[in-house]
């Protein structure tokens, strides 16, 4: 049970890491995207010239090219006055390049001067903006050096890179961060015409545009982000290693249980051998015990993990989700772990000498 809980939690954290890290690219609506090949992750994207958007529009199948700007600025909690860095996402909301739940009704309001939409799934340290909006109808807040108007909320979620998010138009973004240049976008979302061949447009754009931008599909953009967290930060390997350690510890525990059981019933096993039970039969008995332990450990482990997922998910604001794929995979791991432990415990069975019963 311990191993089951540990592995499910580690894999859950790992999946939540990737889910939260890729939530922003997942929400993007383009079929193709232009990014700087030196960009490792979106939260610290290398700039690309905005003119590349116009160049992409030269391809007839490209219907829209929407630059997206990303930055981080301090947000002042309207109630406590504390400051905390928040991610700012600037783009033309009316162009539909990104689709967060709750964004569409706010697209027109966001065009107002200093208007922002607040991510309601941000960490609570930014303030209970949803409640304040409901109480007051409108809300002024301080973002960086500017006072902004919160016109509504969207749903995106915190991640390892950003504890919270606000969404605004490109114009308001440049007002907020004057040192930012309109020519420097984090990435450019390309929406194609209906029926356009994505692969063909991809090839044409790759040939057309200079090497300071890379053309990627939506899936490749998501994978790009996921790969950064998996391979270029210790987080991915830590959770993977944590899962492995959970399995190793579980295997040792199961082995100890089976070994102790075989030892304490050695005389019984020897008697069974004397009565004509083969060594192979008794090996299957021990392995059967291992499988029973796997099932008896998995079910309560799964139940406890479901409770922990809910509790930890709420506390950490991470999207912890107990998927059926993960449950099946962990059950297979637990079975394998128990079988290996059983195979190791079989060595002790050799000590059951039927001649010793006399």
């Amino acid at each position: 049970m311990f191993a089951c809980v540990l592995v499910l939690m580690q894999l859950g954290f790992r999946a939540a890491l990737f889910a939260s890290a890729t939530a922003l690219p997942q929400a993007m609506q383009g079929e193709l995207f232009l990014i700087n090949p030196l960009t490792t992750a979106l939260f610290r994207a290398e700039p690309i010239p905005r003119v590349r958007a116009y160049q992409a529009l030269a391809v007839p199948e490209v219907a829209q090219a929407v630059p997206i700007y990303l930055a981080q600025e301090p947000w002042r909690n309207p109630e406590t006055g504390t400051h905390r860095a928040i991610q700012i996402i600037g783009f033309d909301a009316q162009a539909g390049a990104i689709a967060f739940p709750g964004l569409a009704p706010l697209a027109a309001a966001l065009t107002r001067r200093d208007a922002v939409a607040f991510d309601a799934r941000s960490r609570p340290e930014f303030g209970d903006i949803t409640r304040l909006l409901a109480e007051r109808g409108s809300l002024k807040a301080q973002l960086g050096d500017r006072q902004v108007e919160v016109v509504g909320t969207v749903q995106l979620g915190a991640s390892f890179a950003a504890d919270g998010n606000v969404v605004m138009t490109e114009t308001n973004f440049r007002r907020l961060i004057p040192e930012s240049r309109a020519s420097d976008a984090a990435l450019i979302a390309l929406r194609l015409t209906r029926g356009a061949d994505v692969a063909q447009v991809h090839n044409r754009l790759t040939k057309l545009l200079p090497p300071d931008v890379k053309v990627v599909t939506h899936a490749e953009l998501v994978e790009w982000e996921r790969r950064y967290w998996d391979q270029q930060t210790p987080i991915g390997i830590i959770f993977a290693f944590g899962s492995l350690m959970g399995l190793m510890v579980g295997m040792v525990i199961v082995y100890q249980i089976l070994f102790t059981d075989v030892c304490s019933h050695l005389r019984g096993y020897a008697t069974l051998k004397a009565l004509g039970f083969s060594h192979r039969y008794l090996q299957l008995v021990v392995l059967g015990e291992a499988l029973i332990l796997a099932c008896l450990g998995f079910l309560p482990g799964l139940a406890l993990s479901a409770v922990l997922y809910r509790f930890v998910g709420r506390a950490s604001y991470l999207p912890l989700e107990l998927t059926s794929d993960r449950c099946v995979a962990v059950f297979a791991m637990i079975l394998t772990m128990c079988v290996v432990a059983g195979l190791l415990a079989l060595r002790k069975l050799r000590d059951a000498d039927p001649a010793s019963v006399f």
């Binding site: 008697t271 004397a274 009565l275 004509g276 039970f277 083969s278 060594h279 039927p354 006399f358």
Partner: protein
């Protein structure tokens, strides 16, 4: 037709090389069908070792030992297991499984009888327990039985699969006079009824009366037998 037990020139040593300790020395023994043979002797004389060799619980090292028509010298572990299934064993301290009832302990001996189903195995176990006078105790666990009752369950387990040879090691050592007498009467009665060859290792002089032949063993060799009955 060969006798149930025929051993010639049987020798056995524990350990190897200079540390080898010889416990059986060039021993000859035959147990006839339907015969009850008691083997006595001081501790360390090799009685139990001989019993384990005849019971196919150890590999034969030197000499010949044919049990139930099958030569044991040079056979594989799997072949020894197959021979054991035709032998009934009664151990000194019953060796029942504590977590099983009397009925389950007896039925367990029929586990490798693939020809019979679960219901048939249980029925045979019940019949055997009734034959040894424990029809009323079949759902009790060993801890709930007296010493004599446990040994009866062990006898039932040994006999339930209708063996051709019964081997017993000190079957009455842990029993009082009355229980010991009852157990031996049961064994000898069933043995004669079924034509079993019975080979018993014992120090218990109280049970010598059931024997057809009494062998005395010392220093790994068998002395002149005492015949109780002509066979």
């Amino acid at each position: 037709m060969r006798e149930p037990v025929e051993a010639f020139g049987l020798s056995y040593a524990f350990g190897t090389g200079r540390l080898a300790r010889r416990v059986l020395r060039d021993l000859d023994i035959t147990v006839h069908r339907g015969e009850i043979v008691l083997l006595t002797g001081p501790s360390g004389s090799g009685k139990t070792t001989l019993l384990t060799l005849v019971g196919a619980l150890r590999a034969v090292q030197l000499g010949s030992c044919a049990v139930l028509g099958r030569e044991l010298a040079g056979v594989t572990d799997a072949e020894r297991v197959a021979i054991r299934r035709r032998i009934g064993f009664i151990f000194q301290d019953h060796q029942l499984l504590d977590f099983l009832t009397a009925r389950q302990n007896v039925a367990m001996a029929l586990e490798h009888d693939k020809a019979s189903g679960e219901a048939d195995r249980m029925r045979r176990a019940i019949d055997m327990l009734s034959a040894v006078g424990l029809g009323h105790c079949m759902d009790l666990r060993p801890a709930q039985l007296s010493g004599g009752q446990r040994q009866r369950v062990a006898i039932a387990r040994a006999l339930v699969r209708d063996p051709d040879l019964l081997l017993a090691d000190e079957p009455t050592a842990a029993l009082d006079r009355q229980s010991g007498g009852e157990v031996m009467d049961l064994v000898s009665g069933l043995a004669r009824e079924r034509g079993l060859a019975v080979f018993i290792v014992t120090h218990d002089s109280r049970i010598l009366g059931v024997a057809d032949r009494i062998l005395s063993m010392e220093d790994g060799q068998i002395g002149q037998p005492a015949m109780c009955r002509e066979y």
